[in-house]
């Protein structure tokens, strides 16, 4: 075979690699549920971003850490609408990892660091529930209820 033919065949074989692929199941788990809004929502201009967040320990007690750690310990799933209609969410997460809590966070001010939690899964003592997902596990129906007129204790603040 000529060198040119070998070169072309090599490129062809490289292309057969198929490029990008979904994350392997053993590398991900999935969590999904619904977000419900109850009560009078705040003015639209005070809601810059509304996102489902999933936080790994250690809990970021300074709000600025929410942004700086966005891609490290916090998984944010921005909701597609801020019209406060009930909606659903679904996203993949790293398995075998302990998550400190899951909730809904609101960016309300002029700073990207102006965040507050408006809903989260908690136990009867108002403490966030930690959980771990196994590889390939899909935990559904993790529903979150947002009450803007009665926001929960802020878990990010010591």
């Amino acid at each position: 075979m000529s060198k040119v033919g070998f070169f072309i065949l090599s490129l062809f074989l490289l292309a057969c690699d198929k490029g990008l692929a979904p994350l392997p199941p053993e590398q991900i788990a999935e969590i999904s549920g619904a977000v419900r809004f109850i009560g009078v929502p705040p003015a639209g201009d005070s809601v810059k971003i509304l996102a489902v967040v999933l936080v790994q320990p250690p809990t970021p007690y300074a709000q600025s850490q929410i942004i700086s750690d966005l891609n490290k310990t916090i998984f944010a799933y921005p909701l597609s609408t801020i019209t406060f209609h009930d909606t659903s969410y679904s996203f993949t997460v790293k398995p075998d990892t302990t998550y400190h809590y899951i909730g809904v966070a609101q960016n309300f001010g002029n700073f990207l660091t102006d965040w507050r939690v408006v809903a989260f899964i908690h136990d009867t003592k108002d403490s966030a529930v930690s959980f771990t997902l196994k590889p390939g596990e899909h935990r559904d129906s993790v529903d979150l209820i947002v009450r803007f007129d009665s926001i929960p204790r802020q878990p990010f603040i010591k």
């Binding site: 198929k18 990008l20 994350l23």
Partner: protein, 732 residues
């Protein structure tokens, strides 16, 4: 500003100083023109032959394309020019001839108008260029011209931003760093400085010329990394028409996780384009209309496009030719911007781009030019254009529903002169006025004035080019900013097809109205104005050479470019708030080399092979980090053959994955760092039959991304997956 005024004066002198009346005291005379473009061909060799066809006199045509034979018993003339078929015609005393030459270049012997602002043989140009012609453009059934640009050696496209040898990279909402022209006139929107590819009439694009490297010495702002000139067809003699239609479908993706229900995404696409050309008296008319529908392979990524094109050419006299062109386009497309994450690559991000929101846009471009041969040695070309763009968005989020209306008015007077035997002068003056009305950028206007002068001095076997342009730009009532852009180049004809070239060029890009004045909240990020932005600057240097024989063309070049004040978005604290703003942030340098080989193994063009490889090393001069969105390796290969009524062609592209990306974008997009080297194969087969009334009908089948290779050109954006299309084309 004194230097600018000096250059302006020089430009004016060059423009008006060398006019002499046209006289004709010759035994016989004539003009040599390009049959397709009707442009005068300067430097064509005229051989005067006796009745037994012996040459007794030779001369070259002037800048007007004119020649005069004053002596001897001439029976025939032999006309030859680089890049054209030779021709011999019989003549009579007193004749005034117009000789039209057909383009038929040998490999590497094309002519180009963009590099020097007049028709020049490629090997006489001191900077790297590429040319793509109509059959290759239409053969790929592109939906828009940006698709074609991806196959030009050294050129890549990242999310509608054109990269020439890594010059542009990608910066969100930053204007084009490559100047885009239609028939020599700027075609960038007045608000955000973007290229609106969907306006271009694919059927009527005659060729695309790409000049690689800074080109502001002739073209001013935006020619930072290169110049791309789309040249449209001219009306042909007699009446001709053409219809081209194709329809196809995107394949299903391999991974079940990625699939979305067919009820949401149909994945089909279709296009129909028809046109006609003809002449009424000496006036040429040409028009075409296109409708395109693409259901998209991603959710929220479908589009409806309609565009129209009309061109009229008419001679006011033997020495004047007027051309006017109108382009219109209307588009409506989905708001897909980035994927949701790597497990949902066909689903849009919930926060970035709106599934239900659509973007509507209208574009209109009217341009006219008048080419006047004022004397044997002087041509005046007057150009003017109005370019209007409008877009509006019906996003589901009220904060991101922008609209913008922008208009660009352009006027230029260019003079070409060869009054001195060895010196060809190109000079011009121009003005540009931009006006924008937008809720994104508010209401602003800008005005630009410029002048340029370039000389090409022939000292066999070398040609020296020296030129400069001065530009001043002013927005609203702010003070003007000026730029002076010099250039120098040399070509050497070393004989027997071997040529060398070297050039130093400069470029600049004035910040767009969008970059300076944007004031809007996007997905919670407040983007604020920066009225202190200054122009980006570049300097590019290259040394190269080419070698050609009857069936081989080899070109190699090494280049080094520096870029100052590159504008990019960044976050900062302003008045107690964290905001996003465009700033003059990056000082960059790019070193690289490029090789192009074209091979025609058969004596005709029934088999052609082309190979282009570009390597760039792009880094920040301050931090020494690799620049964002610049692939280091770019390889493009093409093979094409004809067997009786069949035609076969295949393209391959390799694009190495960019090593660095915008961190703001990476934070916003799920799995935004997922990227791979890209290997893309396309293949097509065509068959031509004689249809009704002897009209040739070409049927072709094409597969793009044959191996269904999954890759991204930009963060969180799966490039087109494998798709099949069937095309029918006929001309009459």
């Amino acid at each position: 500003m004194k230097k600018e005024f000096f250059i302006l004066r020089i430009g004016l002198i060059g423009l008006i100083g060398l006019i002499r009346p046209i006289t004709s005291s010759a035994q016989f005379s004539g003009y040599v023109k390009d049959r397709k473009t009707q442009e005068p061909i300067a430097g064509a060799t005229i051989g005067a032959l006796t009745s037994n066809r012996k040459i007794f006199l030779k001369q070259m045509t002037k800048v007007s394309g004119e020649f005069r034979i004053k002596e001897g018993a001439v029976s025939f003339v032999h006309i030859s020019a680089l890049g054209y078929h030779d021709t011999t015609i019989s003549v009579s005393i007193g004749n005034v001839l117009t000789v039209l030459l057909e383009q038929q270049p040998l490999p590497g012997e094309d002519v180009i108008v963009t590099a020097q602002k007049h028709t020049t043989a490629v090997q006489d140009v001191p900077i790297s260029v590429s040319i793509v012609k109509s059959p290759e453009i239409t053969g790929r059934s592109p939906e828009s011209i940006d698709y074609t640009l991806r196959y030009i050696p050294g050129v890549s496209v990242t999310h509608d931003q054109v990269n020439v040898r890594g010059s542009s990279g990608y910066a969100q909402s930053v204007g084009s760093r490559v100047l885009f022209l239609i028939d020599g006139m700027p075609f960038l929107s007045a608000d955000d400085g973007e290229i609106k590819f969907d306006v271009l009439p694919i059927m009527n694009v005659d060729r695309i010329e790409v000049v690689k490297g800074a080109g502001s010495a002739l073209y001013g702002s935006s020619a930072l990394g290169g110049v791309i000139n789309v040249i449209t067809r001219n009306p042909s003699e007699g009446f001709h028409g053409a219809i081209s239609a194709f329809a196809g479908e995107y394949d299903q993706v391999k991974y079940p996780e990625w699939r979305i229900p067919d009820s949401l995404v149909k994945r089909r696409f279709a296009s129909i384009e028809g046109g006609a050309a003809g002449t009424i008296g000496e006036t040429g008319l040409l028009g075409s209309f296109a409708l395109r529908r693409n259901e998209g392979y991603r959710l929220g990524d479908d589009s409806y496009k309609a565009s129209g094109f009309a061109k009229v050419t008419t001679p006011f006299s033997d020495h004047d030719r007027f051309t006017t062109t109108l382009l219109l386009a209307n588009e409506n497309h989905g708001g897909f911007l980035y994927w949701k994450d790597l497990n949902h690559v066909l689903m849009p991000s919930d926060s970035l781009g709106a599934v239900n929101g659509r973007i509507h846009s209208v574009k209109a471009n009217l341009q006219s030019s008048l080419q006047s041969i004022l004397s044997d040695h002087f041509i005046l070309i007057s150009r003017g254009s109005i370019n209007y763009t409008n877009f509006s968005t019906d996003s589901v989020q009220s904060e991101t529903a922008p609209h913008s209306n922008a208009t660009n008015y352009y006027l230029e007077f260019q003079g070409n002169s060869d009054i001195f035997d060895s010196l060809y002068l190109t000079s011009g003056i121009l003005a540009q006025y931009q006006t924008v009305n937008s809720d994104l950028y508010q209401s602003h206007h800008g005005i630009t004035a410029g002048a340029y002068l370039q000389g090409e001095y022939k000292l066999y076997p070398a040609i020296f080019t020296l030129g400069a342009r001065a530009d001043g730009t002013r927005y609203d009532a702010t003070s003007a900013t000026g730029s002076i852009s010099p250039k120098f180049g040399i070509t050497v004809d070393a004989a027997n097809g071997l040529n060398f070239r070297g050039s130093i060029g400069t470029g600049f890009r004035a910040p767009t109205i969008g970059e300076k004045y944007i004031d809007q909240v996007f997905s919670g990020f407040h983007v604020v104005p920066n009225r202190a932005l200054v122009p980006e600057k570049s300097r590019s240097t290259e040394i190269g050479g080419s070698y050609r024989t009857a069936n081989l063309y080899i070109d190699g070049v090494i280049f080094y470019s520096t870029f100052d004040n590159l504008i990019e978005p960044h976050s900062l604290i302003q008045n107690g708030s964290e905001v996003i703003q465009f700033g003059n942030l990056t000082e960059a340098e790019i070193f690289g080399h490029e090789e192009v080989i074209e091979f025609y193994p058969l004596s005709n063009d029934d088999l052609s092979l082309r190979f282009g490889y570009t390597y760039v090393f792009p880094r920040d001069r301050i931090t020494k980090q690799i620049l964002n969105f610049r692939p280091r390796h770019l390889l493009q290969a093409r093979a094409e053959t004809k067997l009786a009524s069949f035609s076969l062609s295949s393209d391959f592209r390799y694009i190495s994955k960019y090593e660095s990306a915008d961190t703001i974008l990476l934070q916003q997009v799920g799995n935004g760092d997922a990227r791979v080297n890209a290997y893309i194969w396309d293949a097509r087969i065509g068959y031509t039959i004689q249809g009704l009334f002897g009209m040739p009908v070409t049927l072709s089948f094409q597969v793009q991304n044959l191996l269904n290779y999954y890759y991204v050109e930009i963060v969180g954006n799966l490039a087109p997956i494998r798709n099949f299309s069937f095309r029918v084309e006929t001309v009459f």
